[in-house]
């Protein structure tokens, strides 16, 4: 299988690799996938409580090149967005940006799941699952 240039670029130069303090009140952690399935993504966000803007994002991924690229891209995209804006990111946006072939679509789904899981974890920390700092729309 050949990879798109963007996948190769993210694989060779992954953005935002690392970990944030998962115990911190401002940090949301999403851990999705399973080792048996060959894909595990950990995506973390640090959210500004006042503005609900994602100020930092980090990831670590066990998976194929497309999985690494999808999660790397996800961290790039969520940074600077509000939590609600980040929730609007769809897996097909990632598929399009990275030109993922059909067999790799599940990697993008996992990345979307990771964003949602991280935001869900952060919201939970803000109190009983209610989006405290998110403006009601």
């Amino acid at each position: 299988m050949s990879y798109s240039d963007k996948v190769i670029d993210h694989y060779n130069n992954p953005r935002n690799v690392g970990s944030l303090d998962k115990a911190s009140h401002d940090v949301g952690t999403g851990l999705v996938g399973a080792p048996e399935c060959g894909d595990v993504m950990k995506l973390q966000i640090k959210v500004n409580r006042e503005t609900s803007v994602i100020e930092d994002a980090k990831f670590k991924t066990f998976g194929c090149g497309s999985a690494i690229a999808s999660s790397s891209l996800a961290t790039e995209w969520v940074k600077g967005k509000t939590v609600d804006e980040a929730l609007a990111i769809k897996n097909m946006d990632i598929v399009k940006e990275l030109s993922l072939p059909p067999v790799k679509i599940h990697c993008s789904v996992l990345a979307e799941d990771a964003i949602r899981a991280a935001i869900g974890d952060w919201k939970k920390k803000q109190g009983s699952g209610k989006p405290v700092a998110v403006e009601a729309k």
């Binding site: 694989y11 048996e36 690494i68 599940h106």
Partner: protein, 425 residues
């Protein structure tokens, strides 16, 4: 000879590198296929234009010359495996040989019984053939293998019943290189009056195989796994004690004593013969050299990386094979990182089915480690400098990917990954 086609030196390389004088990319996937030995090509060339005759033409010298080439090849193959020339049937390759052996016996001995025994780690050419026969009313037993990849002879003993007509167990596995106890299996089969077929694709030319001493009745052979051309192979069919008969799959002009019709692929058959002759001549030194390189590769990887696991027996293994799993690193991403080296992975991501290697699963290797496996196939044209380069690249890439791996991080934090409740996908 009057052809003036130039014989290339080993495989044509597109890229080049100045790294220790080695050429990139490095081919280390010799279980998938092997580059052709220049000596094989040289032997084949006259049979394309000058000696183009049909080996079945009995009335003129063109036919006789082609037939002579074919018969020399037959002798060389027979000599390599301890057979007689009349016991060698040419085919299009090992997949056809497996089909011919299994379906040929199934049809011929249908009145005697309908039971076939094989093993779960066989090549798909055997497994899928058996599966098809199940649709036609045959009963197939798929023997499990032990942790080291070997079939348990007691399991086999128990599986044979009075309806068993065929046992088909490979000589060497294509993924993990594990060697089955062919001689013992053959002896057991002969004691019970059961025909024994072995898919010897990966074994022939790499390790000594003697159909008489090892009680083999049918053996599948492929040329392109032993530095010969693609698209040609052979099937050994025993003629004496016991005489084995098979029904043909391909009917036609009655070539190959009715067992495989179709005009013989003379140049390729000549190539297969030459490949066998070279293998016979050089096997003692070559297997020793390859085992040395393989052990060097293993040593240079395992001495620098922790949590690297060998898949399959080390004692019963092809000399050029190394199959190892790098915990916490997914196989396809590892291949992507070492993209100047051609190897294979048992990862699901590298297969069309999205399932990790069924061979590794059969050993009891967890799916997680199956996803992390790499198969190195060291061959005739690999050098020590290449092995060292491959080891360096693998180590540096695994280290980089582990830094990227949440699993490695969790393991280092002391979390037992088996206890984690994964969300799944």
């Amino acid at each position: 000879m009057s052809t003036d086609v130039k014989v290339p030196q080993v495989a044509a390389q597109k890229h080049s590198s100045n790294h220790k004088g080695i050429k990139l990319p490095i081919y280390m996937d010799n279980h998938a296929t092997t580059p052709m030995d220049p000596r094989v090509l040289e032997e084949m060339l006259p049979y394309f234009m000058e000696k183009f005759g049909n080996a079945a033409s009995r009335n003129h010298s063109f036919g006789w010359v082609a037939e002579e080439g074919v018969e020399t090849a037959r002798e060389r193959i027979a000599k390599l495996i301890g057979a007689t020339t009349k016991e060698v049937i040419f085919t299009s390759g090992a997949t056809e040989s497996d089909n011919l052996a299994i379906k040929g016996v199934a049809e011929m001995y249908r009145e005697k019984g309908n039971h076939i025994i094989t093993a779960v780690t066989e090549h798909k050419a055997v497994l899928d053939t058996c599966k098809r026969l199940e649709k036609y009313g045959y009963r197939v037993t798929y023997l499990p293998v032990q942790k080291d990849g070997l079939v348990d002879l007691d399991d086999l003993k128990r599986a044979i019943d009075d309806k068993t007509i065929l046992v088909t167990i490979m000589a060497a596995n294509n993924e993990i290189g594990v060697l089955q106890p062919i001689a013992e299996i053959g002896k057991l089969c002969h004691e019970r009056g059961v025909i024994f077929h072995t898919d010897a694709t990966q074994a022939i030319g790499k390790i000594p195989l003697d159909v008489s001493k090892q009680n083999v009745d049918l053996a599948s052979i492929s040329a392109h796994k032993m530095y010969g051309p693609k698209g040609v192979g052979a099937l050994y069919v025993r003629r004496k004690s016991p005489r084995v008969q098979i029904s043909a799959i391909i009917d036609g002009g009655g070539h190959e004593r009715g067992m495989r019709s179709g005009t013989l692929n003379v140049p390729s058959i000549v190539g297969l013969g030459k490949a066998c002759a070279i293998a016979q001549e050089e096997m003692p030194q070559e297997s020793c050299r390859l085992a040395g390189l393989r052990n060097r590769l293993r040593e240079r990887i395992t001495s620098r990386l922790d949590e690297v696991y060998l898949n399959g027996s080390m004692d019963h293994r092809l000399p050029g094979n190394l199959n190892i799993s790098f915990a916490y690193v997914e196989g396809e991403s590892l291949l992507m990182g070492i993209n100047d080296i051609a190897v294979s992975s048992g990862s699901a991501c590298t297969s069309a089915t999205l399932e990790p290697s069924y061979v590794l699963k059969a050993l009891g290797t967890g799916d997680d480690l199956a996803h992390s496996s790499i198969r190195f196939g060291i061959g005739r044209f690999n050098t020590e400098a290449e092995v060292d380069y491959v080891a360096d690249r693998v180590v540096e890439t695994v280290e980089r990917l582990r830094e990227l791996s949440p699993l490695y991080e969790m393991a280092k934090e002391g979390i037992n990954l088996k206890d984690v409740k994964w969300a799944g996908e």
